[in-house]
């Protein structure tokens, strides 16, 4: 497929000097994601999902194998990705608003005219904040926010610069079911509109099936991709779909695979 945006070619990665001992966090990962594709990764805790994200963005260089994104081999951090890390990692010396503006201070072309267009950018950030239910918290510091609020702010930071590739590492983990479903739809709409690439790590199978085109199931450490499921549910989807049988069937199928990983070991 010449259209593939993200391509993993038999990639293995381990931290520190473990690779030398043949110990990897993720092993023999090969996959391709076409431009604008939305994939989800599920798998047991510690299987290497976050590691996969770090590899994709170039934060970690693979011990073995080759990763290409947008046609170029990944050799260092890319500059067109947005990432919400598993921990909120907001900078404690910046207010929520300032935290969210951060990518615009770094990434071109926003960086170039950041000073000039600052007001416009602030408006954009405030709108984003409002959409995740944080209206009125722009001037609070991160440690004045609750856990879930921090997580939502972190999602805003990942989105603000409209990245070509969006990576979300369990972005809704600290949210209640209703807020979570609301954010699903916000994300879905943004994606439908802008057609960027998304990689979503989640433990919520309904979330994965509802949002993604393809769900990958990873095995226990060392993480390999043991199952790949194309989600052929029609789009546009709305929350009603989660009550359909087709949907629940896929969820159950995935659940079964994850279950068998556990018992298999």
């Amino acid at each position: 497929m010449s259209d593939s945006f993200i391509k993993f070619d038999d990639v293995s990665h381990g931290y520190g000097d473990l690779p030398a001992q043949g110990k990897f966090a993720v092993e023999n990962i090969s996959l391709e994601v076409h431009t604008g594709g939305f994939i989800a990764i599920v798998g047991p805790s510690g299987c290497g999902k976050s590691t996969f994200m770090k590899l994709t963005t170039g934060l970690q260089k693979p011990s073995r194998g080759r990763i290409t994104v947008g046609g170029n081999e990944v050799n260092g951090p890319l500059s067109f990705s947005g990432m919400a890390f598993q921990a909120p990692t907001l900078l404690p010396w910046r207010t929520t608003l300032e935290n969210i503006l951060l990518p615009l201070e770094i990434v071109e072309p926003f960086r170039f005219d950041f000073r000039k267009k600052k007001d416009e950018y602030i408006q954009r950030a405030l709108k984003l904040l409002e959409s995740v239910g944080l209206k009125g918290y722009a001037d609070k510091f991160p440690w004045e926010l609750s856990g879930g609020m921090q997580q939502r702010a972190s999602i805003c930071r990942a989105l603000i610069h409209q990245p070509k590739m969006l990576l979300l590492d369990e972005p809704f983990g600290a949210l209640d079911a209703f807020t979570r479903e609301e954010l699903w739809n916000i994300l879905k709409d943004l994606w439908t509109e802008q057609q960027f690439n998304v990689i979503l790590v989640t433990h919520d199978l309904r979330e994965a099936v509802y949002l993604a085109d393809t769900v990958y199931v990873m095995s226990k450490s060392p993480g390999k991709i043991v199952f790949k499921r194309e989600i052929d549910l029609p789009r546009p989807r709305d929350l009603e779909i989660t009550y359909t049988e087709a949907f629940t069937n896929i969820v159950h199928e995935l659940r079964g695979h994850i279950g068998s990983i556990r018992s298999g070991k």
């Binding site: 770090k54 963005t57 934060l59 951090p77 890319l78 500059s79 067109f80 990705s81 947005g82 990432m83 890390f85 921990a87 990692t89 900078l91 404690p92 010396w93 910046r94 951060l102 990518p103 201070e105 770094i106 990434v107 510091f141 440690w143 610069h161």
Partner: protein
């Protein structure tokens, strides 16, 4: 959060006055002669009597120190960034800088005088040479201990090393930058004074030597008081800026 009482608000002044009283009492009760350790009253008398002279010398010392201190902030920050962000610079420069800073700067004053003549030149340079090291060390340490998790927040955006230093390194090390400023300003005053002591016709250093040589210890101490007051004012200035800029770090 709770209302501060009088003692809490004026802790420094209360302690200061208490110390003065104790000091005066010791001097009076044990009849300590003024050539051994002058009493606050004797010092106060000299402060008043020679106020114009002391002010004139203080002003010289003050601006000299400020120039040297300014240079030392610039150089200290730059070296700190260099050492804190490059492993090889760390390994190469740090030990040599440490060695250099262990040398008494007083030993270099004569050499500086030979190059720059007597006056402000050697004093500024001494103030600089003596005071950039703490700044460098704290900035380097702050940068070298940045949590990779925070760094990744910027790295994932394709930020340059410089971006990371500006957006994370600097704000994160701000409390320790201020800490080092407090150390550095005291050293800068020491540097200026020491240099003036061995090569100058003015400044508190000159006053110290001049008063010391005619065994007028109370006058010398009056000069020391003036340095102390100047340093304390600078401390208060830093404290005000620090409170504004690093509130986030002092949130407990």
């Amino acid at each position: 959060m709770k209302k501060k009482n009088f003692l809490e608000k004026n802790a420094a002044i209360v302690l200061f006055i208490a110390l003065l009283v104790i000091w005066q009492l010791i001097c009076t009760v044990f009849k300590v002669s003024e050539f051994i350790f002058p009493s606050p009253i004797q010092i106060g008398q000299n402060l008043f009597e020679f106020r114009t002279e002391i002010l004139r010398h203080s002003w010289v010392t003050f601006w000299t120190t400020m120039v040297g201190f300014g240079i030392s902030i610039m150089v200290g920050v730059m070296l700190g960034f260099l050492i804190g962000s490059s492993k090889i610079a760390y390994d190469a420069l740090y030990p040599i800088m440490t060695a250099f800073n262990a040398l008494p700067k007083a030993a270099f004053v004569p050499i500086l005088v030979v190059w720059f003549g007597i006056g402000a030149g050697p004093a500024i340079l001494t103030a600089f040479l003596i005071s950039f090291f703490p700044i460098m060390v704290n900035i380097a340490t702050a940068l070298a201990t940045i949590e990779p998790e925070l760094e990744d927040v910027l790295r994932v955006l394709g930020a340059s090393k410089k971006d990371i230093i500006v957006k994370i390194g600097m704000p994160r090390c701000l409390p320790f930058f201020f800490a080092s400023l407090k150390v550095a300003i005291t050293l800068a005053f020491v540097g200026t004074t020491v240099s003036e002591m061995s090569a100058s016709n003015e400044g508190i250093g000159y006053l110290l030597i001049s008063a010391g040589s005619s065994m007028r210890l109370p006058l010398a101490f009056a000069g020391l008081v003036s340095i102390g007051v100047m340093a304390m004012s600078m401390y208060e200035l830093f404290a005000v800026i620090e409170r504004k800029k690093t509130a986030w770090a002092h949130r407990s």
